[in-house]
Symmetry: C2
Amino acid sequence: MKTLQVALGERAYAIHIGSGLVGDPQWITPHLAGQQALVVTNETVAPLYLDGVLESLAGIRHHHLVLPDGERFKTLDTVNLVFDKLLTERHDRHTTLIALGGGVVGDITGFAAACYQRGVAFIQIPTTLLAQVDSSVGGKTGVNHPLGKNMIGAFHQPRVVVADTDTLDTLDDRQLRAGLAEVIKYGLIGDRDFFDWLERHMDALLERQPALMSEAIRRSCQNKAEVVAADEREAGRRALLNLGHTFGHAIETGMGYGAWLHGEAVAAGMMLAARMSVGLGWLPAAAAARTEALLRRAGLPTTVPASLSAARALDLMAVDKKVQDGRLRLVLLRDIGEAVVTADFSPGDITATWESAASDAAATTATPQGA
Amino acid sequence: MKTLQVALGERAYAIHIGSGLVGDPQWITPHLAGQQALVVTNETVAPLYLDGVLESLAGIRHHHLVLPDGERFKTLDTVNLVFDKLLTERHDRHTTLIALGGGVVGDITGFAAACYQRGVAFIQIPTTLLAQVDSSVGGKTGVNHPLGKNMIGAFHQPRVVVADTDTLDTLDDRQLRAGLAEVIKYGLIGDRDFFDWLERHMDALLERQPALMSEAIRRSCQNKAEVVAADEREAGRRALLNLGHTFGHAIETGMGYGAWLHGEAVAAGMMLAARMSVGLGWLPAAAAARTEALLRRAGLPTTVPASLSAARALDLMAVDKKVQDGRLRLVLLRDIGEAVVTADFSPGDITATWESAASDAAATTATPQGA
């Protein structure tokens, strides 16, 4: 078992990474705010891990809520189901919400915790690779709006993150690959050694070798924890974590939430960022080629969906949270391990990048499995 | 013009109180976060003051949204209308939301600002006495849930509060009286001199004499600002500001949002708190009589609605935000100017207080005008 700290002063918390953690009360009980808890999970995760978590809460008054599974349910209406449950069961403001599931469950539960009675405690038990390496750490919570992804939300830090690597055994391959997109992202943004390590070990990671998987999660969380500690509310450096996300959100919103997994859209988005960086003369073509090769080895899409035009994508990108006074900013690459936030490009550069990716795609089959 | 400061470190802000402030850009412009703003108001206030506010924003890109008027619209659905407008008009996270109206507009707009893109700036321009002396100051924002008032929300401080006393001229008498309930509350909680002052000047306040009204607002805001600065997130002393509110919320929720004005329900709730304090032997009967006399002079209800049983009220109070591990806490009185938060009573004390108020009420006509 490995433990990392997210250094946020009075909001500091631990991330525990290891095997056999779910259902062991020692990782949860010390962090409960009072004598009540609500476990929020979804219909896929509930049959696998809910009983274990509920047993670990045997000493206190607790309830659970099982949500439908999928990004398309990451809405204000679903958050309201959490409020309904909390009020019906009379949870007070000393309750603790426990998110058991992937990124969608974590985002919804965290946002509900941020808003219920103006803020209650919450705990993250992420059960997907993507949630373990990214969404469960850092306190970003929220839901989608039909006009934009994650447009409604709050910064609300968990009290502890319990990442049980055993839960990855039940993850389907597509979800595993989607999580690897965010793992690769940390290498691209600021950890070139980690990128090299991923190139060496990608095949073993796809085989889910436990020691390597655990190390990939630890290294990813460490990267994220450092950035979050330095810039909790994304005034600066934290924006780098959005590499691939502005393009990716356009794909997710444009295709309808859930058609592409978030990690798949981020993979395609990172490749678009790399292409655009090459086009602007910032990134060596060889670095973009290495990026593409690693994403492909991970089984991730590296191009855009044929049905989404460049014009529509540009339109969707205009509501991105990094827009400032009408001007879009993007995370682009100067090298592997060196990302920058910049507005130093024209809309035409985006359109050209998108269309070149689309025309390459026409000759290949790089859309995600199941999409 | 008087200016008070709410001392909250990097979230500190000014409250400007005076005549002719709405429409004067000097009170607004320095506090805008960027080059965009959305003014949120309601159908009652819009014809009176919206044009003036929009003119003061002439230099920047701005939009406005007119909501229906009334507590029954203080819902998550109405907050979503604000998100729809912001996204349709492509406001980015450097926008500023400006709440122009009473407490409902302020609560909805502040909560929307807290959640839009995980938090944007907002400004309060309160146009009712209740909003000027209470809800616009202190950063409590939120909406109601069918099972409880203000159950969903956030702490989100405004950048400035602009309280224009001229706007009180257009307030109807019932709204004015409802505001006076919160003014009287500050005297009861911790400012006995102010209570004495209110006894001397209640008739002049009901006649809206400008100098006295301005002083009542200043003194109320000063009381509130001191409490908020000492305890922003209501870990302790701030709970005293809820005198009358636990009983009052039960009345508001039980009668249907909007049937009783918030201030009316708080007035009845404060009188119930005084009655219960007398019953427990904590408060001299003479102090309760003075409280009742002042509330009645202000034209406020001092008893409970006949149609709401003690059992139902107790049930509604069980979801109050001051409940802790199943135990209800109330703000009660030791004297005029000396309130305490306590759990040192039984449910039977509440029932007895409620029923005694109801039986007194049967002999009088103390329900609010219009309810």
